[in-house]
């Protein structure tokens, strides 16, 4: 078994604003080479905190209190700002959630796409532009020249997301963090984008950490999945196993609460109060044991 590309160990974090409330509780997960790993949880579970920790953009009110993010043999948490900058963009890239806010509305696409290429690869403008054009073709944009000279508002949401994906994969990173990349898109466009991410990922052997709240999306694109509840990993494994035979009660509850068009009576099962109580108790026990609970006084 080859070493994983990304290896998160015992990652813990607290919120300084909320009296040191724990946001992440000893999270452990690993993403292998060429693997698409889903990070699933509802809002507040801590998934974007993990993504931000990897990218080094944790907000000031959140503090990492322990753990390690191993990437290419180094702990990302221990790198200096300069070292981290060298790694980002070149080896780790981000596909953000909202394509309309991720692009600068007053700059043309070609300018924004060539930024990274010129900075990280040292390409001259002309070569960078050619590469950008090739990237747009790779993400199946039929009219790359037109798109290159367009401004973001002239493109549809799906188109913008393709541009962002092209930019992310363009530097041939080893790891791409996709932060809910299809949440803001129509469902038909979502399918196209998922297909695109998968094909790019397969072609380049990129590892992807796919953050999502949607179990359906995760089922279709992720090889393995980690289920997060209140900052704690409750289930982890091959997607096929986790979905077909979930072991943790929370995973089961999530699946039951999801409506399915092929099963008309699903989607109306709110999580029973007993389960919530049990989950809370489990977290409390974990905190007491691991010392990750909010401190008194």
């Amino acid at each position: 078994m080859t070493a994983p590309r990304l290896s998160i160990e015992e990652l813990s974090a607290i919120s300084l604003r909320d009296g040191d409330r724990p946001i992440l509780r000893r999270v452990a997960l690993s993403v292998g080479t060429g693997e698409v790993h889903g990070l699933v949880g509802e809002s507040g579970a801590g998934k974007s905190t993990i993504a931000k920790a990897i990218l080094g953009i944790i907000p000031s009110q959140v503090k990492v209190t322990g753990g390690r993010i191993g990437f290419e043999g180094r702990d990302l948490l221990s790198l200096s700002a300069a070292e981290l900058r060298a790694v980002l963009g070149r080896d780790i890239a981000l596909v953000p959630q909202d394509p309309s806010t991720a692009l600068n509305p007053s700059r043309r696409i070609d300018a924004q796409m060539t930024d990274g290429l010129r900075l990280k690869r040292g390409l001259a403008m002309k070569e960078a532009r050619l590469r950008a054009r090739a990237l747009l073709e790779e993400v199946q944009i039929r009219d790359p020249d037109r798109v290159l000279v367009s401004y973001p508002h002239q493109l549809s949401g799906g188109m913008r997301q393709r541009v962002l994906i092209a930019a992310a994969f363009g530097l041939e990173p080893k790891l791409v963090i996709a932060d809910e990349p299809t949440t803001a898109l129509d469902v038909t466009v979502q399918k196209q984008i998922l297909r695109l991410i998968r094909s790019l990922q397969e072609r380049h052997g990129t590892s992807v950490l796919f953050v999502s709240h949607d179990l359906g999306v995760v089922a279709k694109i992720c090889d393995r999945v980690t289920v997060l509840y209140m900052g704690k990993v409750v289930e982890q494994g091959a997607t096929v196993e986790v979905l077909a035979a979930p072991r943790h009660a929370y995973t089961k509850a999530l699946l039951a609460a999801n409506p399915r068009y092929d099963r008309p009576d699903t989607g109306l099962e709110p999580t029973p109060p007993e389960l919530i109580a049990a989950l809370r108790a489990e977290i409390a026990a974990f905190d007491a044991n691991a010392g990750t609970g909010p401190r008194d006084g």
Binding site: Y250, P270, I276
Partner: protein, 297 residues
């Protein structure tokens, strides 16, 4: 909070937040507020508080320095001016003019501007077109010339100072209120009020206006600071009240001429002016800052 035990895993409420509470926590706003309050008391109680008659000239005691410097006289805390008048008493009485102008002029400008702004924003179409055109044309007039024209027509005095400020600054309120109103009119709760069947005037005053008020108050306090400065400028050039009544601007004009022999005659009113405007700005600033999160939450 709910009378079943919470059935949703991640559903939690937020803490109550009132604007007043948040403002009270900001030391700058509290100080500024305190200062304005103090000034108001000073202005109201001027005849009782001021140690001397501000108009009483004493040609034997001209240009006496403030207490603490050589040659000072005990009864004249801030010294006397070129005609032997007590600087402190004049500053205190000067606050009457400044505050009167601040509240009356800013208040009137606010009233007129807001009414027109509300109408323009809510009624739209022809009414909006007319009012907006009016504002555009009006704002094309150079404000300084307009004020001089007004004073020339109405004669010098507090009424023309107030008129000048109102005539020029109502447009500021109109524009802001119009924009806010239009923004509010887009909100779903206005649509909700329509579906429930409330009449248009009812919607304007129950739903829209209360949400415009906070911004209006912030603007009003800023306008008060502006009004104070405008009055000072007008009295500096002799276009304000008669030269008998002490005004800060007038004192600055006099003080400027004898600044080398009696710097305190200039410094005192200048300091008072400065402190007052800063105080108004701090309150307005604090209001603007604390209102945003409430509205955007």
């Amino acid at each position: 909070m709910e009378h079943w035990s919470p059935t949703s895993i991640t559903d939690t409420g937020t803490q109550p937040h009132s604007v007043a509470a948040r403002l009270a926590r900001d030391p700058k706003v509290v100080c500024a507020g305190g200062f304005i309050l103090f000034l108001i008391l000073l202005a109201i109680g001027a005849p009782l508080i001021a140690p001397k008659d501000p108009l009483a000239q004493n040609l034997l005691m001209t240009t006496v320095p403030p207490v603490g410097f050589a040659d000072a006289e005990p009864g004249f805390l801030l010294g006397t001016d070129g005609l032997g008048r007590d600087v402190l008493s004049r500053v205190i009485f000067g606050s009457r003019v400044s505050l009167t102008v601040a509240f009356v002029a800013a208040g009137l400008a606010c009233l007129i501007g807001s009414l027109l702004g509300l109408m323009a924003g809510f009624l739209g179409n022809v009414v909006d077109a007319l009012i907006s055109r009016l504002v555009d044309v009006w704002m094309a007039f150079p404000p300084v010339l307009l004020s001089i024209l007004l004073v020339a027509l109405l004669g010098t005095g507090l009424h023309s100072v107030i008129a000048a400020i109102v005539v020029i600054d109502w447009t500021r309120f109109c524009r802001v209120v119009r924009t806010e109103t239009m923004g509010q009119a887009q909100m779903d709760y206005v649509v909700a009020a329509r579906t429930i069947g409330f009449s248009r005037p009812s919607i304007l005053f129950r739903e829209i206006f209360p949400n415009v008020v906070p911004v209006l108050i912030a603007l009003l306090t800023l306008e008060m600071g502006i009004a104070v400065v405008v009055e000072a400028i007008l009295s500096f050039v002799g276009l304000s009240v008669s030269s008998d009544t002490p005004t800060w601007g007038g004192m600055i004009a006099e003080g400027r001429q004898i600044v080398h022999e009696a710097w305190w005659v200039l410094a005192a009113p200048l300091a008072a002016l400065f402190a007052t405007v800063v105080a108004f700005n701090q309150i307005g600033d604090g209001l603007a800052r604390s209102l945003d999160p409430v509205l955007r939450r």
